[in-house]
Amino acid sequence: MSATGIGASVKRKEDFRFLTGRGNYTDDINQPNQTYAYILRSPHAHAKIKGIDTAAAKSASGVVAVFTGEDMQVGSIPCGWGVNNKDGSPMNEPFHPALAQGKVRHVGDQVAVVIAETYSQAKDAAELIEVDYEELPAVTNSEKAIAPGAPLVHDDAAPNNMCYDWELGDEAEVDAEFKNAAHVVSIDLTNNRLVPNAMEPRAAIGDYNKGTGEYTLYTTSQNPHVIRLLMGAFVLQLPEHKLRVVAPDVGGGFGSKIYHYAEEAIVTWAAGKVRRPIKWTAERSESFLSDAHGRDHISHADLALDKDGKFLGLKVYTKANMGAYLSTFSTCVPTYLYATLLAGVYTTPKIYVNVKAIFTNTVPVDAYRGAGRPEATYLLERLVTKAAKQLGMDQVAIRQKNFIPADAFPYQTPVALQYDSGNYEATLKKAMELSKWDEFPQRKAEAAKRGKLRGIGISTYLEACGIAPSAVVGSLGARAGLFESANVRVHPTGSVSIYTGSHSHGQGHETTFAQLVSETLGIPLENINIEHGDTNRIAFGMGTYGSRSLAVGGEAIMKALGKVVDKASKIAAHLMEASVEDVEFKDGKFTVAGTDKEVDFGTVALTAYVPHNYPHETLEPGLEENAFYDPMNFTYPGGCHICEVEIDPDTGTTQIVGMTAVDDVGRVINPMIVEGQIHGGLAQGIGQALLESCEYDDSGQLTSGSYMDYCMPRADNLPNFMATTESTLCAHNSLGVKGCGEVGAIGSPPAVINAVLDALHELGVEDISMPATPQKIWQAIQAASMPAAAE
């Protein structure tokens, strides 16, 4: 292993820039003659717009223009994934306007845009816009939304507020397994709605050059090429060669910056109208009201087991809240990123899943760190622990009995996926060892002496990431491919620029990808630059989400590097007057076996660009290669998370006293970055389990719309993590890598809740919903200790 190659904990190259305030975020960019946009948003969850009077706003100080939905007649903001109903008919896909067309459907829906010389002027003028609303009853809960008589979010475009009623598997076949079952264990649970809260709020700058007819959009995106496609082709009808999308430094996304948002289309379209650049930056309150939210599932599940605790069949019924409109990937989250994961790490032979996707008067819901997989894992791992309790089995033993064995790969699940590698027993054993699982009873007894309730919880999880084989997702309704592109440009003096379609918004690509180059070409990290985030500079890119950057984007880089080494070997062979078959390349040097001939990589690079002595008859000058990589399969990280908590029964407060994560993420390129990713994922998973809750009141107002009410995890909520990896290699990519960005958020919530319930078990508490706040725990203790009500 070289000091800067694969496996080295190199410090992040980008951190100097970020930590010293030298990042270049969208809001840092200013264009000559720039104006500012303020978006007027709906204060109502559901209302008809009977009229909008913008006259006073238009004549206010500094105002350049005011536009409403009537002015902005453009295409629907598209959904990127079509899902079919049980009966094969397509889902309901109502029009999604950039600016409201006659109706608003959630608090925060865009009603008008004011463009002015300063942001304050735009905001002042927006107060002068008179919108005549006719308020309508609202519905925010997915179960209530499909009840008869519920307010209709999209009227006739989505009867019963149904987007789709989808299924996977054969319900009758699974029912047959239930007839043979010795035990059936059932669970009802809610996966709580979350607000993503990237540190950098969304921002966008639209610009139009009348001289060239070109539009430019700077935006806080995880995937600028996808935005160019969605906005250009579907919303504004702008061809790729006349639309440049730049996503510069981006301060966190967690999924929320994948999607094409109305504000991007508004500033781009309006820049063409006012012929000046327009900047919009969200205030934090707007982030709460307009960034796509995450999760929000209500589920019922039944697990059939034989007399020994072997799983026979699983049935899951889920209602997924889509919010008011279909965000870009919203429809695939509760289906292809959720239902297909419900085998988990277990050999359950028959599985049936029914998912109803439902419109409500809330902010649209889409993928958030883990996307579908945390929901599947939470359901499964709560259910398995409940089954152990119900059957009187050990919670570890019931898992081991049902694990897919390490020698069973490739393993075909009943829910479409074929796992390529894994060793669930190994990650379980290591996590139990590191958490000192066996000594838990002593720790519990010691805590009891201090008046604390101590509990331990486990989750053995799996996820599918490295998203994804284009052919597979295409057959499942994806309206795009999910490959990645890379370009390796070797400069004449031997330094290298990599142009990648992946996008880094905190993941450390500039370091990890550079390590791949350093390892392959034997050059130091400081001679390597990773370029990303600009559709005019990068050939193409599908972006970063679903833990795909290394497994897909990194593989594309490796493929292009392979081509560079091939060509460089030919140049080296020419220089050394040897046959290319005899040339070896190692540590940045080309040698000829059995001789002392040697030429270094820099000399070969210079020769490629100063081709005086060069095989012109067989090779073109220059040293630059492209590659596109489309994976053969998803990758399947998995592992074991163990959480230990102490609860203060007087107040209901939970303190996490131990959090052990042993993850199989495939080959690790930079252990420090992987550990950082896992820490971040665990923090968000713990946030979901104990702290974060997005709450709407009955009228559709977001009651947790600021940090005064929405509880983000802070350092003192978290223990010191014991996080490590225990990997098997991915079987279908050259690096053997799987992905690490989401595992923390996927595996941890059920481990935390199982630990809380374990602590409360002695008091008779059997269920708690996320987030398990002190109040909820106190109430559960109160309810369990009340004498049974007279019947």
Binding site: T651, L691, S693, T703, S704, Y710, P774, Q779
Partner: protein, 262 residues
């Protein structure tokens, strides 16, 4: 934020003058509530009179029986003050746990008391310790100062100059944080004074900080405090806590405060 005229007088006398001549003025102390409120456009004063230049409002002194803190003294300064730590360590600890470091470096004791946020920490200390609030016009006892949620006996142009705390025999503050905001979901300040126990509760009531006389009597009678005598319908209920949970926490925090005071 709407436009406003900004004044930065260098003495409290000049500040009072500026207040008197403005149309709809607001006093700016540390700005930890006023500025966010203005940024959200929920307040639109014509004039903002900053006390930041009034050095006569800053400082801490102690004569053994009385601790005096200038109104513009920051939470961080109170927390770090040797005088406060010696005279009323519970007050230093309370100040050191308000908000976060940035808030503590800007926020002031006078601003906190004048704002009388129902979930703020300082009002419970002032009330339980029987503090005297000294203003540009008069001296008010804490018992008469807090008149309701975000309401005090202060007149429009009246400025707090200092707060005098009689040094108690013992005191402690037990706070249960709102998990999100870290304001007090329930905070109980207990002081053992020569006139008997005094207990003030913040965070819990619709009316803001209040004295829990029932609990004071329990303590005086040597009983373990409990909150059974608190009327649940007088307490706050929101997405973080029901009135029942707040009532329960008052009992738990009272017990903890008494135990901590020793």
């Amino acid at each position: 934020m709407y436009e406003f005229s900004y004044h930065k007088p260098s003495s409290v006398a000049d500040a009072a003058k500026a207040m008197g001549s403005a149309d709809d003025p607001k006093i700016l102390a540390g700005g930890q509530t006023l500025l966010p409120t203005m940024k959200q456009r929920l307040a639109s004063p014509s004039d903002v009179v900053s006390l930041r230049g009034c050095r006569d409002l800053v400082g801490i002194s102690s004569d053994g029986s009385t601790l005096t803190i200038g109104a513009m003294t920051t939470h961080a300064a109170v927390a770090a003050s040797g005088d406060v730590q010696k005279a009323i360590p519970a007050l230093a600890a309370l100040a050191g746990n308000i908000g976060d470091a940035q808030v503590r470096n800007r926020g002031t004791i006078g601003g906190s008391l004048a704002n009388n946020d129902p979930a703020a920490d300082y009002p419970s200390a002032a009330l339980a310790l029987g503090a005297t609030i000294v203003t540009t016009k008069r001296e008010l006892s804490a018992d008469n100062f807090f008149t309701g949620m975000f309401e005090t006996a202060l007149e429009e142009d009246e400025i707090i100059t200092s707060i005098r705390f009689p040094v108690p025999q013992a005191a402690a503050y037990a706070k249960f944080d709102n998990p999100a905001s870290r304001y007090a979901l329930v905070g109980v300040f207990f002081a053992k004074t020569s006139d008997g126990p005094r207990v003030a509760v913040t965070g819990a009531s619709q009316g803001g900080v209040f004295r829990a006389k029932d609990i004071e009597e329990q303590i005086a009678a040597g009983k373990t405090p409990d909150s059974s005598g608190i009327a649940e319908n007088s307490l706050n209920a929101d997405i973080h806590a029901t009135a029942a949970y707040r009532k329960h926490l008052i009992g738990v925090m009272a017990k903890r405060a008494v135990a901590a005071a020793g």
